[in-house]
Amino acid sequence: MKKFLISIITSLFTLGFAYSTFADGHKVYGPYPITLKGYDGDKTNSVKYTGQMARQVLHDSLKALVKSGDVAKMMAYYNGEDNLEIIAPKSKDDFKIKQTMVSEIGSGNLSGKTYKGAIAGWGNLTGPEVLEHMMNKAGEVEGGFDPNTGFDYTQLISKFAMGAVFYNQAANNYLGKKMEIGQKPNSEPYKEGSYYTGKEHSWDEAFGYWGSAAHALTLSAEQNYNVAKRKDMSSADFNGDGVVDLYSEYTFAHAYYASSYDKSGKTNYLATVNQAFIDGRQVITDANGRNLNFDERTKLLAQRDIIVDNWQKVIAESVFKYAGSTYKDIVALEIIIEANGDTSDAFRTYAKHWGELKGFALALQCGPENLGETAVKLNRMMGLGPVLLNASQVVGIDSNGNFIKDQAQDWNEFKLHMLKIQKLMVDEFGVVAKAKDQLGDMEALAGSMGSADSAEND
């Protein structure tokens, strides 16, 4: 009897232990074992996405540089040259960042990875041409802002680059093309001499582009958000070494925007995407270095679809949010104009929000899905440039890269377009967080009045 009891207790303990490590292992992305057949090196962790995190830092630094107007410096980060200092994110107060040079994280560039297709919303230039055009234009103005066109290049470059590089590379390339049968097989190394398999590395690279901390699932949306704001050292420093490793302990790019919407409690984008990345990676790991069978592939692609779908929604939520902000800015501007007040500050805010709207809208068009009519509507409604106070607007780009200005859309119509863009994001992408919802109060009012359907005779 005693023996029996001991064996039961021991097995319960073992089970409990196994469960807790299992559960823990599923909350952090990596490490994952080496599964590549025939590998005889000393590596034990097959996860490596240093190039992606280097690009995250290149993007943050580039964004910080735009207002300097130094085109050569912007280009250096865009092209990922050697010996680049990390301009952002940097240590702040007790938020100590481990790396100060990009090369401490990894190597890579933004230029080679930018969406190669034509960007209809920016004069049909290709993705890299758009970024270069914007950077050159930023070099011609003070502080990255052009009051004559209303272009805020800091916002335009950053928001577009996140889509054209990160979302594009992950959704179209690593989770798209490279997940196809015959592409980057799991039974072979990613490249000759790699210690990880084709599928493992493709999946890991996509995770890097997403931009979340590897341990994001152990944190709340608020904590992930505060990490990006450099306000929560204890949440960021997962391994407790006293510094924040930008490779695995920081929240970047779209993962940051996901956390900002999840904070409202209405959505769960960050956790959903991270869980899908982890579950998908487990499918690959479990295949143990052989090619995935039909069942495994189906499971993996289901996780891929969750990631891409939610990623797209995060960008659509951002378009929704900034269309709402722009609408509010226009209303504020109208009041100031009516009172003959000074519009300069309000115009600057308006241009900033419009720039974010434009950047995210262009980013949305760099995904795997051809948005067709939705893209046309989106581009036309927001215009190539924002409507300016003198009723003019940038309407095109000539062959020398100069902006062509013409009579603007009607001011009221332009304002209405912001609402229509919000509605479009709801109808086409099913956004839920709906930050800065300009129709939300009306919806609440309608809700308070009760449903209209009743088969009653008064």
């Binding site: 009221n412 229509k420 009760g450 009743s454």
Partner: protein, 336 residues
């Protein structure tokens, strides 16, 4: 199983939601008002009053029983149909968008006005426009033959109980839903456009305060055998229960009178007002010696459809005849 749960909760909701006419509290208030009226006005004892109010002959009549059945069936039909109906929010959004294109209007142009005035005017506006639209629609239900075919279902009741409000053809129910959606949308969009998010309703237990007052003043007595009459001057402003009962009378002089729901002013303005008469003198229904078969569910649901079909065919025939006549005449002239 889910559908069954939705269905039962929808039915229960009719009695526990203060936004609904037959909310149990409103019914209770109506009973109290009826009791007081019988005891004070008609000088009846409490026992006699209660017997009179809960008259078995009325509540278990063939007419009333079909009211109950229609109620149960229509709830199911509306549950299926309502997701396909346009919502007030869809219409309000379209109107709100449209207002942006009007040059002399600008969003939030009156946000400076004190909130109390905005809420008060919205509450009054919503109640008034809702009541007026009920008047208009009701009038059309009587005047247009196709609509009358549907509305006749309601008027075929030979006794009135609070449940008679549900004695409505489902197609008529759809018309009412659209009416409600449109009027709500008009108020919501105009006010929200002009006053921004300062707009809200004055409510009691979540109901427009005026609707609440209408209901606790015995709205359920409109469809009942309790013929409460108001002073003559008051019947120009508010429809008394007896005035609505008169609307259900088959007497020729009562035809097409008192279309109003809460306010009598619409009837007064458009010449359809009739002051109340003693309830006992009224004969309710659609015609004298009305057949019991008019209370059969099959007839109640299908007769209007047949009637509408017949009406439309007749119209087409007439047009055809007219057309033929013109063509024949043309030929004749040509031949001559």
């Amino acid at each position: 199983m889910d559908y069954f749960f939705d269905y039962t909760s929808q039915i229960t909701n009719q009695f526990i939601d203060p936004k609904k006419r037959v909310f149990l509290f409103y019914i209770l208030i109506s009973i109290l008002i009826a009791t007081a009226w019988f005891m004070i006005n008609k000088k009846l004892s409490l026992k006699k009053t209660l017997i009179k109010i809960f008259d078995k002959k009325i509540f278990f009549s063939k007419s009333a029983k079909s009211d109950y059945k229609i109620f149960l069936i229509n709830q199911l039909i509306m549950m299926i149909v309502s997701p396909f109906l346009i919502t007030q929010l869809t219409i309000a959004t379209a109107l709100y968008f449209y207002f942006h294109t009007i040059d002399w209007l600008s969003a939030g142009m009156f946000v400076g006005i004190a909130k109390i005035y905005i809420i008060l005017s919205f509450t009054i506006f919503q109640f008034t426009i809702d009541d007026f639209s009920k008047y208009i629609v009701h009038r059309f239900m009587h005047k247009w033959p196709v609509l009358w075919a549907l509305h006749k279902v309601h008027h075929s009741a030979t006794v009135l109980t609070p449940m008679t409000v549900f004695r409505t053809h489902p197609l008529e129910g759809i018309i009412f839903s659209l009416r409600s959606a449109i009027t709500q949308a008009i108020g919501i969009s105009i006010f929200f456009y002009l006053f921004g998010n300062l707009v809200s309703l004055y409510t009691i237990v979540g109901v427009n305060i005026f609707v609440f007052v209408f209901n606790i003043l015995g709205s359920n007595l409109r469809h009942s055998h309790i013929g409460i009459r108001y002073w003559k001057w008051l019947e120009y402003i508010f429809i008394s229960p007896a005035q609505h009962q008169l609307h259900h009378s088959i007497a020729f002089e009562h035809h097409d009178k008192n279309f109003g729901a809460a306010l009598a002013i619409w009837d007064w303005l458009f010449g359809s007002l009739h002051h109340s008469v003693e309830f006992e003198t009224l004969h309710l229904g659609i015609k004298k010696n009305q057949h019991d078969a008019t209370h059969n569910l099959k007839n109640l649901y299908l007769d209007p459809i047949h009637e509408i079909k017949k009406h439309i065919f007749n119209k087409i025939k007439k047009i055809k005849n007219k057309f033929n006549k013109i063509i024949l005449k043309g030929r004749y002239i040509n031949e001559v």
